[in-house]
Structure formats: structure tokens, C-alpha cells
Symmetry: C2
Amino acid sequence: MIRNSLTDVFFTKDDVENLHEGVLRVLSEVGVKIENDEALEIFKQHGARVEDGTVYIGEALLNKALETVPANFELQGFDRTVQVGLDHDPVVIPTNGTPLVLNFDGSYSDTNTDDLVNFYKLIDTSDVMQVTSEIAVDVPGLDKTKDSLLAQTALLMKYSHKPIYNILGATIHNYKKGSVAQGVRENIQFAKKYYGYDDKYVIYSGTCVISPLGVGWEAMDHFMGFIKENQPISITACSMTNLTAPGSLYGSVVEDAAAILSIVVLSQLMNPGLPVLYTSLSSMSDMRYVQLCMGAPEFALITLGHIALANFYKIPVRVGGALGDAFKTDYQAGVESFVGLMAPMLSQAAMIPHGCGTMGSFNLTSYEKFIMDEETIRYLMRLRRGFEVSDKRKEKALKDITKVGPRGNFLGGRTPKEYREDNYLASEVFNRKGCKENTREEQGDIRDRAKKVYDARMEAYELPDTTLEQKKLLNTELPEQYKFDL
Amino acid sequence: MIRNSLTDVFFTKDDVENLHEGVLRVLSEVGVKIENDEALEIFKQHGARVEDGTVYIGEALLNKALETVPANFELQGFDRTVQVGLDHDPVVIPTNGTPLVLNFDGSYSDTNTDDLVNFYKLIDTSDVMQVTSEIAVDVPGLDKTKDSLLAQTALLMKYSHKPIYNILGATIHNYKKGSVAQGVRENIQFAKKYYGYDDKYVIYSGTCVISPLGVGWEAMDHFMGFIKENQPISITACSMTNLTAPGSLYGSVVEDAAAILSIVVLSQLMNPGLPVLYTSLSSMSDMRYVQLCMGAPEFALITLGHIALANFYKIPVRVGGALGDAFKTDYQAGVESFVGLMAPMLSQAAMIPHGCGTMGSFNLTSYEKFIMDEETIRYLMRLRRGFEVSDKRKEKALKDITKVGPRGNFLGGRTPKEYREDNYLASEVFNRKGCKENTREEQGDIRDRAKKVYDARMEAYELPDTTLEQKKLLNTELPEQYKFDL
């Protein structure tokens, strides 16, 4: 197992305290604008200064709230649970909300409901993903359903054995029966009813703050609904340097941390002990093109800053992912996936959103990249397991080296246990067969190898074994073409 | 700047001492087989036990030799010097000795002298490479030259402003005038004469030990020649787990470290203060295909083990590179380059061999991957520069955030200094222009973007401004078609 966190390569203890001081000053001197009167009232009741819709949070109130944030929690899925938090390896979860898909034939198309189902199957059969979620929302194919908010949640639940993350927020477009606040709660209650638990965490969700230092009304309805329904929330910042954050990485991190912490504090004031996830997907902008760069080294650096801070606050942190700016599964995509994954994979991160398949600066999800990113995650899992140094390893190595001697060879007999433990044998997605002409021909293109894996997984997929009652419940909301045939 | 080494993520101090104990036991209990009587005699004179061609080195002799290993040294090129060592950033150097090239049109062909020249130009115009070297040796196109050893050195020198690394060893095939030992020394003297220095390090070189724990006679002639001519040496291990090293990473590292250290000790006994580089390119083998895997996470782990040990011994270490097992510049190639480069780039490594363009498990050098790997190195250089946390950054961020306030925006006025310092703007090789249909079309394929960069560099290349005397000297050895027209 890794001995220290990758954050230690980039930050000393003093650095983290310096960042924390910056966060405190932003929280107490600049404040966070929150578009929800009930929330502002709660802050006021707990002694925070509130002026013109902006809340100013002091160190004492922050510390009080941090005391009740759980270090770990359990998510309940259809037939399994997943442990999340400071004492566990990072839980990898899928991408959310990209408008386009990159198809195996190289074409780009709008994400539709069939894509959703394909990805739900892919996620459900993935050995690296533990949680599922909508990979896109409000997509074509849902138009005819009466209420697409619940339809999409039903679709996600129908195809998933794994716990669900619900990126989908209620909006005035996807929920028409009542207010957005009502929609959020009806959606949660629908999930509770389907899973049959009122007291477990069966759905967790989050949404974005608006950088700098704002939380909009729809986001607030979303957070308030989850807090009241006692389901975990994730609070996400996604800022761009020199546009919605200062030009420096320092400024980016302290600004976003303050915004995230304001909702962390609120959650604990309203519902002490509610699991919260501190999420950042902030990165640099390339001012030449006014573009958010999700494959940049600065993305890893900003992510590491947030991990260091969240670890300091002891809040489970949800960061990073196989993101990037490439729009093909090319060399750049490989580098970028590694850049975005290494920070959380080699640190104490609780969750990794956008774990597989995202690219094109959040605009694109790629089938083949999903499969390739799984292998990159396995590589990083191997790195996370570390380099075993122990007296056991020493004695066995000395014994073998002595036996073989100079110029000898270690082959022969059974493959030793330590070889199997220390050497990860890659999946067929990555070439390991050498570079001779015949192996080049045999191995072909990585995109074809990914397609093979995809086909096998689609073949192997099985629906969760729902009860008749569950099927009937889902049918009340599922889009017509995805209803169970009862 | 990074605050700590990536080795600290994987090893505690105790771990490194444990590895060191393993190394000592291998050195003193198993020994290293050295095929050179003169070397064995020198070991004996300094009190080492020598039996049947195997030398056993104890802790005292090792420590005595380590005392005189220079922490830093300077390489002299045609018109510039390069600082190498523990107090400097890693020096990136090119690949060596791959038999095949991957051409821009996707074809594979045997590396020939025209490829050498193309790559020398590419290396010479590279902003990330500080040293040049033969990218392949004994290639077609040299056959007609009377002595290809000196011909190849002449070719390398003709095209290079940068200091040279001479992977080429004298062999019975490329040097016919006398013994291999003589060939090594004539080659060095040729370089000294060309550069006009007898007292500077104008050529450095290294070769491989034979794992486990052997150094062959040709390699010994090579090392002895460089030690006697007072030019730096690099001692390279390249073992495979479970084949030429034990199955565990622990065994791999301690075995190779012992072999490398035996030549480090010899160099200091013969020529105290001679610069030496501790080099490992060892990795895991995939026993399913009996393949050396140069893109595996275990390559990074083994590399980090060697960096930790070499740092412990205070020997400049030369490790890692943009290696890999992919044979196309695909997603796998990107991941693998990052895996192989991150260990030295985020640690205290002195040099990174195989910095750009290598793939196919050491069999292949790719033009386009060279260009792409340069960008990956720039990404890692940005990571190495770290995340600036300082009171200056804090005060500026607070000032900006206060001025802008919640929901404001930071754009406007001149781009602030800290944006320019903290945000690296990628080269055109990587897409940064977004993922809309028009930018996708404009950006096209990364391979075409790499080709554009290549063409511009070939265009911009200029030969070193050699004197008539230098030209005449080179002409005595250059292959016919590369001679200066005098």
C-alpha cells in the first residue's frame, strides 16, 4: 500500500495551513451568496452574519460543523453496499451529463436513451466502478414521458445493481407537477420506495455551486431536499482560473473551498451527521481559446490542493477522473486520463467522479475510452497497492538470488507467489504481446480491442432480479419503450 | 517546486534501509561475476574477496567508494554545457538503440542512417532534451564505411550542438583495427579531439550489466575504457521479474542495485571522483507472453525503488522514460509514456533516458511519438514546478476575490502575472480548442498535428558552426554520403 499521499509531494503541512487561512478569510471576509431564504435563516440562527443574501462564516461555526461530518458512510444499492470515506480506497463512479457520445465508428452523436442504457450495462459489469449514475440527462428519447425527472431515475435504477448517484436535479423543465423543491423530494422518495429502505442511503446526489462564491436557487432546492430527506450530498465546484476564479491556483482552491464549505456547514446545521462529499472539478482555463482544460497538469494540481484541504478538514473528498480535452481516443486522451486519475488514486480520496470515458472538456463520453480508462484505473490501482518492502520479501529474494547465482535464471518450477502478488497482468485492451510483425497484426488497433471487450460485456449483462412490485413501480415512470413487459 | 519526492509516496525511510540491507547482503553474500581480470585484480588490491571471477563487496568498501562519487557534474557539448546531478532538475535525453522506426505514414521500417540524422535534428531542436545520443546503432547505410564505430560517433557529433551520450560500444563487428578495449579508447579520443578538450566531459556512455549479477567482457572493456579516459559512465540494469530477476519487485531492485554498485565501486577505486550514473531500465515481465513490459505500473515502481536507493547512496540516477509496449501512438502509448516519465520527473532523478519516442518494448522509435512525448514532458515539468503556496499568492488572491465578490467574474484588464506563472499553455500538439464540430475539424488528428511540428523543426534546424579543422576531422570518419563538401 502507498506509504504517503501524493498531496505530500506538492504540499507541506505549512502549505495546507496557509491554504486553510486563505479559505477562512474568504469565508469570513467575502462570504458566499446563497439563493435560499430558509438556508440563510438557519445560518443566522446559528450566529452567522448574513447580509444581502450573503453569508459570512467564522472559524468557530466552521469547526462546529466539521465535527459532525462523518468520515465514512455506506451506500445501499440493489443487492450490495459500498463503503465510502476516509478509511477506504477511492470509489470510482461514472461520468455525468455530457451532451455527446463518441461512437465506435468514430462518429459523434447526441447522447440518447439507448446510450444511457448501454452505459448503465457497461457500468454495471465494470470491475472498477462501484457506483452508477446518469451519464447524461434530459436527453432525446425522453420527450414523450410525462415527467422526465422520475423517468430518468427509473431508467437508472432498472439497469443497476450498484448504488446510484443521481446527478439529475429537478428543474422547471423536467418536473412539472409542482415546485423544483417538491420534485427533488418526490424523486428521492421514489428511490426509497424502490429500494425499500427509508433509513439507508439509497440515493446520493450533488450539484454545482456557481463560482465565484455563489449557490443558485435550483442548486439550493436540490441540497435542501437531500438534507431534509437524509440522503448524502456532494457539493461541487467547477471554476476556471482567470474567469470564474482568480488567475492563480491558490486563488482557485481557496475560493472554491469556501463555497463548498458553506454548504457543508449548512448540511451539518440542518442535519448533523449527514454524509457530505467535498467535490471539485475546477481547473485552469486556456485564455488563448477561453477554454476549460480538463486534461491539464493544473487540473491535477488544483485537485491535489482540494484533497489536501478536505483531508485537513476530514471531509470525504470526491475529485478527479479520466477527463481531458482530446476528442478522439488518441495519445492525448491517454495522457489526460492518467493526469486526471493519478491525483485521487494516489491520495486519500473517497470518490472519483468521471471515472471512465469522459473527454472533450466535459462535452463527450466515449464508449471505447470507457473501456480503455478502466485499464488505466487498474494500472493506478496497482500503483496504489505500492511496492512491498518487508523482511518476508527480503528473505525470499535473498534465498532465490543465492540459489540462482550470477548469470543464472529464475525461470523454472511453479510461478512464485510473490510474482503473482507483485506483477499485475494487464487486460487484453493494452498490448502486452510485443512488437513483432505477427503480434502487431494479431493485436491490431486498441479501438478494436476495446470494442471486443464492450461486446462481451453487453452479452454478459443481466438485469437486476427485481420483484413484480418493483417492476410495477418502475413501470409507472419508465419511458414507454423501456417498460417491463408484465 | 515540488516539496517532496514521489519516492516518499511509496517508501518510508525504513523501507529504503530495508532495501539497502538487501543490497548489502547480495553484494557480500552472492557477489557479482565480472569478466575482466584487471578489474578483479583492482578489487582484490582493495581488500575485496574475489573467487572464480566473482567479487564480493562489503559495506566498508562500498561506503569508501561512495564517498568520492560526485553529486553533480558538467557535460560539455559543442557550444553549451549541461549540469547533471542531485542539485539539478532531471536532464532529458533521447532513446537508444531501437531497431525499428514507426514512420509518419504508419509503416514500420528498419532504422537507417537517414532516420538517425532526422532524429539528431529533432533532438537538437527540442526544448525538452538537453543531451543527444544515437537513437539506433549499427544500422543499414553504414556498411560501406571502413569502421562503423567512429563513423557513427562522427555522425552524431556532426549534427549536435548538445552534449553527446554514446550508447555505442565498440564490438568485434564495428571496430576492426584492434581490440574492443582499443576501440573504446580511440572513440573517446576522437570525441576529445573534435571538441578540443582533454579535461572536460565531452562524451559519456554506459552499457548494460547482465542480470542477474554479471558484467560481460565487452561491457567491462567499455567501462574500463571510459574510466581510464576520465569520461563519465552510466551503469545500466535491465532485468525482467521472474526471468533474470526474482519474481518480486523487492528482489528485482536489490539484485540490480548490487550489480550496478559493483561497477560504481570499481570506477571510484580506479578513478576517484569520476562521475557515474546509476541507471535502471528494469521492469516486470508478463509471463503469459514472456515479454518485458516497459509501460507497466511495475516499471514505475521498480524505477522509484532505484531512485530511492540511489538518492540514499547520493549517486546521480538515470531512470525512466517515455517507454511502453504500444506499437502505435494510441491511447495506450499516452498512458505508458506518463507512467514511465512520472517517476523520474517527480523525484530527484539526474537524467531520464529514452525521454521521447520509444515504444514497442524497446523495439521501436516513433517520429510522431517523439513530438507527443515532448508535450507529456512539458506537462510533467509543469507538475514538477508544483503548486505555489505563499503569502504573496494569498494576499493577491484575497484582494482579487474581494474586489470581484460572489457571482462576479475575473476577466478584464491585463492577464495577471500569477495566471501566466501558474497556468501552462500547451503546445498545439494537444487539443485545447474545445470539442465543437468546427474545432474538431480544425484540430483534426494528433498525428497530423505532430507532423506539422516535425516539419517546422526540420525546416528550422541548422548545423553546428564547425571549423574547417573540425569538418576535416569528421570527414575522416563520416559515411560517404554525409561528408562535408569541402
